[in-house]
């Protein structure tokens, strides 16, 4: 079975880091803000 080429692996890692990193960053910001609002309410 052929393996993934080095170029394909590089682009795979790039895609995962940028697209899911971007999504994760957005969710983290939202979570941090919700947490901060919760603390203010308390």
């Amino acid at each position: 079975m052929p393996e993934l080429s080095a170029g394909a692996i590089t682009m795979l890692i790039l895609g995962i880091i940028i697209l899911y990193g971007g999504l994760g960053l957005g969710i983290y910001r939202a979570w941090k803000s919700t947490k901060a609002k919760g603390e203010v309410k308390k």
Binding site: L4, A8, T10
Partner: protein, 479 residues
Amino acid sequence: MSSTIEYWKRRRGFILAAIGSAIGLGNIWRFSWLCYRNGGGAFLVPYIVFLLIIGIPLLVLEFSLGYYFRGSSPKVFRKIRDSLEILGWLATIDIVILGMYYSLVLAWVLDYIGLSAVVAWKTVEGVGPTFEGLISNPPIVLVGLVITWLITWYTNYSGVSRGIERACNYAIPTLWILSAILVIRGLTLPGSTVGINWLLTPSAKAFTGSALIDAAGQILFTLSILATSLVVYASYLPPRSEIPNSAWITAFANCGFSFFFAFATWGIIGYLMYSMNVATPADLPVPLGGAGLAFVTIPTAVTLLPGAPLTTAIFGTIFFIILWLAGYTSLISIVEPIYAALRDKFGISRRTGVTLVSAIMFIGSIIFAFRPDLIDPVDFIVGSTNLIWLVMLEAVVAGYFLGLKVLKDHVNPDAEWKLGPWFDVFIKFIVPIVLAIVLGWGIITTTHVSPISIATFIILIVAALILSGMKWKVKEEVR
């Protein structure tokens, strides 16, 4: 009553609905094909660059316009300047026509859920004739259309939180879970790595003019930037809502889904190459993108799966359920702004408005069911050219007529990251320039212009002129 204010119950519900609007058929059958055609994984570079410089700024703009003006597209443009109301109607009527043939494709998909469950094509040789048989048999398509429109009508009829939000709360997680099943199956098939290599191995082709245009166009359409749907969705946000980060999450979730699903598609294409013993995807006797990928290539591949016909039925059905859910959550976001435009101008209640809009679009979709050859020339206008120049004007109007300071002042106090001067640069300069280039390129290179396209454009203009010329019946909207 038309004056009843509807809100999303939760912020999560709004974001899932926006993601549902953005994720559509193109995420599944267009993105990975564009990657393959335009330099493999290197296509991600212009794709992500355009996501950041035109996609997210436009998404933030559409959310901000809806959140600030609290209404449909005609109302938003009218509030900026009376004479601009026609732009809102042009965008609204555009998606009326778009929704007609979009729902037809969804009807085919729904029929294919049933056809897959019983493996109606039986053998690989039967795949092509099964699809041709379906599209040339309007009575069977009508069954799919009726079911699709009943579900869509009921969702919008039930309201923002009880209908759209609830539907997307279930549909979007289901979409991801079912996609994960297909991705795992695709990647564990013999030959899948060959397919993934063809999908991802980078080449300099990603930086040619046509690849850059494809990347910019894909970003515009994949995010549902239609100057209508997301404007109206954001108008249902309660006061003191967050805008920029919600747009950010929507954009990355949408593009992340396209990237994720590409592994299912190209794992399966790799398996097809292995089964048919061909050296390159171009040697396959099946299409690698568009409707052909969905209705011919995937059924062909699942027919050849180990364990067929049971596995053919299971994975074929899963694929078409994914496709239908992606399209359905987009179709409800097409119906909503059309109803909202009628509500804002004529004071029509949700029940009457949604029923009227659904009925008109259902009848229109029947015309396309009998004449599917009309889809390409009509789509060139309403699904491409018209949208690009309308969104370009939306950016110009917001940037130069309204002034972005108004929006920034409204959005920034509750923003999880602030809109700075960069927002002005993107909306006033970069977005109009990029979209003007995409539009010009599309017109020069198209092969779909016909008298039907021109007739569609004339119908759009006339209908928009008539609707914008009519009196506003809702008093609060008359300035």
